[in-house]
Symmetry: C2
Subunit: 181 residues, 2 copies
């Protein structure tokens, strides 16, 4: 389907509650473990989502509206959250993500985007030309990519524990195709 703003917002608005339901109060054996060097734990992912809302999605939407293709977006740092998450608990990050997302969606609605706005083109520093519509769709799928990742990272911790069932459990066959991780 094409990007529909209300459908995109419907997903974006639910991610904080989905992650809260999944992660709040879970033992750290699930939330702080990752898949190996330079991979993210569930804790890291929540920090990354906060950082992306702050520095990536709405800022880039405004950038397109202001500059079109004349100036490329600022690059986004995938590990830019590390300084902000240090010393915080997962529960603090979940609260922070809920507030941040709520504020992002308030800003998105305030832009009062019309169909012609959604067709406006911007310049991604690595991907080239992209429309505002594609940016907003990518924001929702970025949430889903990280939900997909968290379920995989958690499942990885029980890779041995499931014994023969591993052949039926698709998540254990997922190689983490995020590129870059």
């Amino acid at each position: 389907m094409q990007q529909k703003l209300e459908h995109t917002i419907a997903v974006l608005a639910r991610t904080p509650a989905a992650l809260d339901g999944l992660l709040r109060g879970l033992p750290e054996a699930w939330t702080l473990q990752n898949e190996g060097e330079k991979t993210m734990s569930a804790f890291d992912v929540v920090g990354h989502l906060i950082h992306a809302d702050r520095t990536n999605w709405i800022p880039r939407a405004k950038w397109i509206l202001q500059f079109g293709e004349t100036r490329a977006f600022e690059p986004f740092s995938r590990w830019g959250h590390l300084r902000e998450t240090k010393g915080k608990s997962l529960e603090e990050l979940l609260d922070e993500f809920a507030r941040e997302r709520s504020e992002s969606l308030r800003e998105l609605r305030a832009l009062n985007l019309q169909p012609a706005d959604l067709d406006r083109r911007g310049g991604h520093p690595a991907l080239g030309v992209a429309t505002l519509s594609e940016l907003l769709a990518a924001w929702a799928v970025h949430d889903l990519t990280h939900l997909h990742q968290i379920s995989r990272v958690m499942a990885h911790q029980y890779r041995e524990a499931v014994g023969p069932w591993s052949v039926y459990l698709g998540v254990l066959k997922c190689d983490g195709h995020s590129s870059p991780r």
Copy 2:
């Protein structure tokens, strides 16, 4: 890590809230679409999880405690939920899943499993010998497999909409390795 009963229960107890946060009230364009013929929508997955709690996990745990390896489990039908979900709304299924899971965990705790029980062996009709510990770990990872699947099925609906961002969005590269789907 090894299966730890309290860690397993911690995941199992959170899945209903995670799915509720993700799916309740979401447009049907997200929840009723699948990835093509003989694949599951988010709606199907919730039905499948209810059906698996009713007919698979706790029944098999009790089966191991009663029969050990002397009698293989009854086979589980992956599409056995179809009759039960017909005519229901996703919201009804989410409520039903929360009740069913709560009841499953009540039954699990009532078994008062000791370490020696977790080492007891049962016979899977296709996988051969498996322990009670492995069964319970597989139950939690089965939840995670389906969360992983729902995020993928939803993302699939926006495959075109994200334009050039598809190269960065790992979930779009996931081929649905569940075996069988």
